[in-house]
């Protein structure tokens, strides 16, 4: 299954696809309004990009600085080379506590590592506390967006899910009442939570603290009631200084949802006496990506989701069509690094329009990287034979004026003479599955131009003052 075939499934419900498209575009418009209200927004993007570039260029040193500062704060720091080690470390911490009830706030890293199924398999109850994540956890689905995990669902779907799992009235679909039901349900989980797991938005090398941004307050409530806090972060979450947060907190929520800032921007630095704080620093392919000069800028990502909201392909194919933890344009440049074969169709799930690059708050050249991944995939023979050979063929045709001219003549004639059922055969011409080919003209522009009379005199030249 590739992106296109998975997208086909999403597209079966045309009304829902339109709703999805328009809803995400609405978020993009909210982003624009928030961004235009900040005169220095473009300077902030430039600064954020510069700070992230600098951090990657000294990443080993900043990781050491962060570790030392965190340890001085009484925090336990763990290192995980891959997903399996990350999961094992967390299970180990939970078992040392004798804990079985875990509350978890949003963390794309733990999704990437498939932590939940691992913990559940080992008899640990893990409850996702972000409302959107709880909804999809009940439904046993993956998030379809990194900021709006349940954006593929309608309120009636949520109502049905809550009716089954929380006993709300059948047919209830009022967001206010459904949210209240989730609040009551999750309060009980928060109060009983023994260990709280959170993600990390920013890890400050200077202070050894981690910053978590939420609107719901679920990270704060979970962490501050539980005896143990485990914060999970990829190595790229580091920023050098506390004051760098001024730049990133001004960009993150405006880019993500058009809010001036998230409701809670929480700084977890030291555990209370008698409590524990652990930070798990994870590689899982990131150092490899750091070693790819064309693709390392993808590690600057702050996971705002702006590239998804603006992407014409994402909006009309849905997050699940990417079949990767991080969908959308940024996911399409992160995923081939993890598994080139499995994710080979994702860099092609783009029009290369560049809108993603335009909205990226840290100025990642996303569409350029999509193009470059296509080259890498072609070299590695990871693209379908039909695409490979048609590209090679087109390359030949377009490289020669004579062949191109002849090809054009042939195509114009063939389109006129061959039956529609053949020129639009779905098995042979994927382009025409949902489109009509234009009516073929009698002659090309070049043929027309060659027949025009030669101009007798040169056109009047503009006068240039001496």
């Amino acid at each position: 299954m590739n992106h296109a075939t998975r997208a086909d499934k999403f597209l079966l419900d045309a009304d829902r696809t339109t709703w999805h498209d328009e809803t995400l575009w609405f978020v993009r418009e909210k982003r624009d309004r928030a961004v235009y209200a900040v005169p220095e927004f473009q300077e902030l993007r430039e600064l954020a990009s510069g700070i992230k570039d600098h951090t990657l260029s000294r990443l080993d040193l900043y990781l050491r600085e962060f570790e030392a500062a965190a340890q001085a704060n009484g925090v336990h720091v763990h290192w995980a080379a891959d997903a399996a080690e990350h999961n094992a470390i967390i299970l180990d911490i939970i078992r040392q506590q004798g804990a079985t009830r875990i509350v978890k706030s949003k963390s794309m890293l733990t999704e990437e590592c498939h932590l939940n199924p691992y913990l559940i398999k080992h008899g640990i109850e893990v409850v996702d506390t972000d409302l959107g994540e709880r909804i999809i956890q009940f439904r046993e689905e993956a998030p379809s967006h990194i900021v709006l995990p349940a954006i593929h669902l309608k309120k009636e779907d949520v109502g049905e899910t809550f009716h089954i799992h929380l006993g709300t009235e059948k047919g209830e679909s009022d967001p206010q009442r459904l949210t209240e039901a989730a609040r009551q349900h999750l309060r009980a989980k928060f109060l009983a939570g023994q260990v709280a797991i959170s993600g990390v938005n920013f890890a400050v090398a200077e202070t050894g603290g981690v910053v978590v941004c939420t609107n719901e307050g679920n990270a704060d409530l979970g962490v501050n009631l539980a005896a143990v806090h485990i914060a999970c972060m990829g190595i790229e979450k580091i920023i050098p200084r506390l004051t760098d947060l001024g730049v990133f907190t001004r960009l993150l929520a405006r880019s993500a949802t058009g809010q001036p800032v998230t409701t809670y921007t929480s700084h977890f630095t030291k555990p209370l006496p008698g409590r524990e704080m652990h930070i798990v620093i994870v590689d899982n392919g990131r150092t490899q990506q750091l070693g790819r000069p064309d693709f390392r800028a993808s590690l600057k990502c702050i996971r705002c989701g702006a590239c998804m909201n603006t992407c014409p392909v994402y909006r009309r194919s849905g997050g699940h069509s990417y079949d990767f933890t991080v969908p959308g344009p940024i996911g399409a440049i992160l995923s081939p690094n993890i598994d080139m074969k499995k994710h080979s169709s994702l860099p092609f799930a783009s029009t290369l329009c560049g809108s993603c690059t335009d909205v990226c708050p840290v100025k990642i050249d996303i569409h350029t990287q999509l193009y470059k991944w296509r080259q890498v995939l072609g070299e590695a023979n990871e693209i379908p034979a039909s695409k490979k050979w048609s590209m090679k063929f087109m390359g030949r045709v377009l490289a020669s004026t004579r062949v191109y001219g002849l090809g054009g003549q042939f195509a114009r004639r063939a389109l006129r003479l061959l039956p529609h059922s053949l020129t639009h055969a779905k098995s042979m011409n994927a382009w025409a599955v949902a489109r009509e080919l234009p009516e073929a003209p009698r002659q090309s522009f070049r043929e027309w131009y060659a027949k025009q009379p030669q101009p007798v005199s040169s056109p009047p030249q503009p006068k240039v003052p001496a």
């Binding site: 978020v27 000294r58 949210t179 609107n215 719901e216 679920n218 590689d283 390392r296």
Partner: protein, 189 residues
């Protein structure tokens, strides 16, 4: 196991990192550091601002704003129930209203810096049903840059809080009162 991974990760990071680039200096972009701006932005994100004619007016103002408030806690009120870092979860869960002193207000986004020292208990600002932050209007700055520049450090725990807890996870419909406080009032004096 983690020592070996630590060394491997640090070695790979060192080997694969790009040529060093410089760390940009972040300028102070100036901006509007007014109570009016702070009020407009906070109101726009679901919070509210009420002016207090001096701290002496705190108690009557709270009675007026929350006539039906149940269990109220505050380090600023003599009458309040006691909460400290050791207060058990069951007691915290019954708190209706917390009134806490905020340190810095940020005009561009309506956020208020609340350090651990002002919280009574780390979970109080999110477990309480309603939250009031009391803020000296002279402590309002224009931007997050200026706010961070004023923070000596972030202590063990601290948060910028901008409005009440909220979510739009069901069909992008905004709902106030997700898991944390259902309402946020900033009392400016």
């Amino acid at each position: 196991m983690s020592t070996a991974s630590r060394d491997r990760i640090l070695a790979a990071t060192k080997a694969n990192k790009p040529t060093e680039t410089s760390l940009p200096t972040v300028p102070d972009f100036g901006g509007e550091a007014t109570a009016e701006r702070f009020t407009a932005v906070l109101t726009g994100i679901g919070g509210s601002v009420v002016w207090l004619d001096g701290l002496a007016q705190l108690e009557p103002t709270l009675r007026q704003l929350f006539p039906a408030a149940g269990r109220t806690v505050s380090p600023l009120l003599a009458t309040s129930a006691a909460v400290d870092a050791h207060t058990p979860t069951e007691v915290l869960a019954g708190i209706d209203l917390a009134v806490l002193p905020g340190e810095i207000g940020v005009a561009e986004n309506g956020a208020v810096w609340l350090p651990e020292a002002n919280m009574m208990h780390r979970a109080l600002p999110t477990i309480t049903q309603h939250l009031v932050l009391v803020l000296d209007h002279r402590r309002i700055v224009a931007t997050m840059h200026q706010a961070y520049a004023q923070l000596p450090n972030t202590g063990g725990y601290g948060a910028f809080i901008a409005g009440p807890s909220k979510t739009a996870d069901i069909e992008q419909s905004l709902v106030i009162g997700a898991h944390g406080a259902r309402s946020l009032v900033v009392l400016l004096y």
